[in-house]
């Protein structure tokens, strides 16, 4: 009897809970729809002017003036639409849209929001400041690289990449290795690549960072952007960095930079005393350099007990032209050499 009553009460409780959840979902949906409708209503009188400015069809400036004098109640909705538009257009229209945001104090509000307790507000603020491409926002954005929220950190890196000011290069590199979880290496690298040659000094410092993640990103960027000045540090880390990934990344970078003066260092690290992954990377990097003095080193690797290393050496020799072909002709055309030659023929590198 008691068990039956308890079961009935539990069933009622579950039913009430489900009902409450369904009601909450409905209310949320209705609320969202009402907000959207209100936003559309507020935007409607300004939409044509916004499209004209965004399309670069406002030579007289009439649309921009009309938007600048939009009523205060419409400005938040307008700022949201303008921010969205900034991710879609560039050139003069984008500059005019940023001026409009400045006029409506949206950029000042975004700076203030960088310290807001809501991570959504902080992330939106970084996004807006990034899309404004305003160099004066760099200082304000840098602390967001160490934000407690990974989304805000990622958004700040993206924003700094959009602004493209090399002053942010050092902090971005350091953020990849910060103790609070850091910034994903790919995000930092993408942001840094857009900053151009101005990041050269920061890369040199990044290669000396105590954290291996920062050193790896810096080494990767040296290769990706063909930064030649840090080559001595790359060679030094290739020889003695305690982290194998850093050493491998330095080898790849030296290959990509493509200076024949680095062939000797790469050749030395194909020797059997070094870790196998590093030897393989160095053999491939020698192929990038295609320096004839490295041909004997690679020819010797054709007989290495590791078939992958032998194959990489053969593929590298294919890239050397006649000097490499001579070494390959003299080698035993079985196993790794044959597969490398077949692959080269398929890729059109050999007749």
């Amino acid at each position: 009897m008691i068990a039956g009553s308890l079961l009935l009460a539990a069933t009622d409780g579950v039913g009430l809970g489900c009902g409450a959840l369904a009601a909450l979902a409905c209310l949320t949906r209705v609320g969202r729809r009402r907000r959207l409708t209100r936003r559309r209503r507020l935007l409607a009188p300004h939409r044509a002017d916004l499209i004209a400015v965004s399309a670069g069809e406002d030579s007289e400036g009439a649309s921009l003036r009309a938007l600048a004098t939009a009523p205060r109640r419409a400005q938040a909705a307008l700022a949201e639409n303008v921010t969205g538009m900034l991710g879609k257009v560039r050139g003069l229209p984008a500059e005019q849209l940023v001026d409009l945001l400045r006029e409506h104090d949206a950029l000042d509000r975004a700076r203030a929001d960088l310290g807001h307790r809501s991570r959504v507000r902080r992330a939106r603020a970084t996004q807006l400041l990034g899309l404004s491409r305003d160099s004066s926002a760099v200082e304000a954005l840098l602390p967001a690289l160490d934000d407690r929220s990974p989304e805000v950190r990622a958004s700040a890196a993206y924003a700094l990449g959009l602004i493209g000011d090399p002053r942010a290069a050092g902090p971005l590199l350091r953020a990849t290795g910060s103790p609070g979880g850091g910034l994903p290496a790919g995000l930092a690298a993408e942001a840094l690549l857009g900053m151009g040659v101005g990041i050269s000094d920061a890369l040199g410092q990044g290669l000396r960072d105590p954290d291996p993640r920062a050193r790896t990103v810096a080494a990767h960027l040296c290769g990706a952007g063909s930064f030649t000045r840090p080559r001595p540090i790359l060679r030094e880390l290739l020889a003695g960095d305690p982290d194998l990934t850093v050493r491998e990344t330095c080898a790849v970078a030296l290959g990509r930079i493509g200076r024949t003066e680095d062939a000797e260092a790469l050749a030395r690290h194909t020797e059997a005393e070094h870790p196998l992954p590093l030897r393989r990377v160095c053999a491939a990097a020698l192929g990038e350099l295609a320096d004839p003095t490295a041909a004997p080193t690679l020819a010797a690797l054709l007989h290495d007990p590791d078939p992958r290393l032998a194959e990489l050496a053969a593929a590298a020799l294919v890239r050397f032209g006649p000097a490499g072909r001579h070494a390959l002709d003299a080698a035993d055309h079985r196993g790794p050499v044959r597969s490398a030659l077949t692959l080269a023929r398929l890729q059109g590198a050999l007749p």
């Binding site: 670069g56 879609k88 257009v89």
Partner: protein, 129 residues
């Protein structure tokens, strides 16, 4: 579907983003083109099939048929030579390669300059005339 008729050179614009659709439509219409703007790939293909335009501007990522799907259909249609400009946020080399491999005449990456887009449209149409 929004249609504006001006000088009679018809351009089809397909993009599921209303901001981009409206601004490209506006930009091209201001330049005198007759623009048909649609919000997805299926509508783009339907518009193309019913009356092939002089040029099409297609977004890549659209619900249903993608811009690449529409481009493939155009190249297999009775009007295979209509120039197609892909307008996309997909900016990887492999995306651009795919676009050109299946027959795009041009590929513009978002964010884009509306002015540059207009120049490209003008140039492509001048070449085909």
């Amino acid at each position: 579907m929004a249609v504006s008729m001006q000088e009679g050179i018809r351009v089809l614009v397909a993009d599921d983003d209303p901001d981009i659709r409206e601004l490209v439509e506006f930009k091209l219409a201001q330049a005198g083109y007759a623009v048909t703007a649609v919000p997805d790939g299926a509508a783009a293909w339907a518009a193309f099939e019913s009356d092939p335009p002089a040029l099409a501007v297609l977004d890549v990522m659209m619900p249903g048929l993608s811009g690449f799907d529409v481009l493939r259909k155009i190249r297999e249609s009775d009007s295979p030579r209509v120039p197609v400009l892909m307008l996309s946020a997909k900016s990887r080399d492999s995306d651009v390669d795919t676009g050109f491999a299946i027959g795009a005449a041009d590929y513009v990456i978002k964010p884009f300059s509306p002015r540059e887009l207009l120049h490209r449209v003008n140039t492509m149409l001048a070449r085909t005339r």
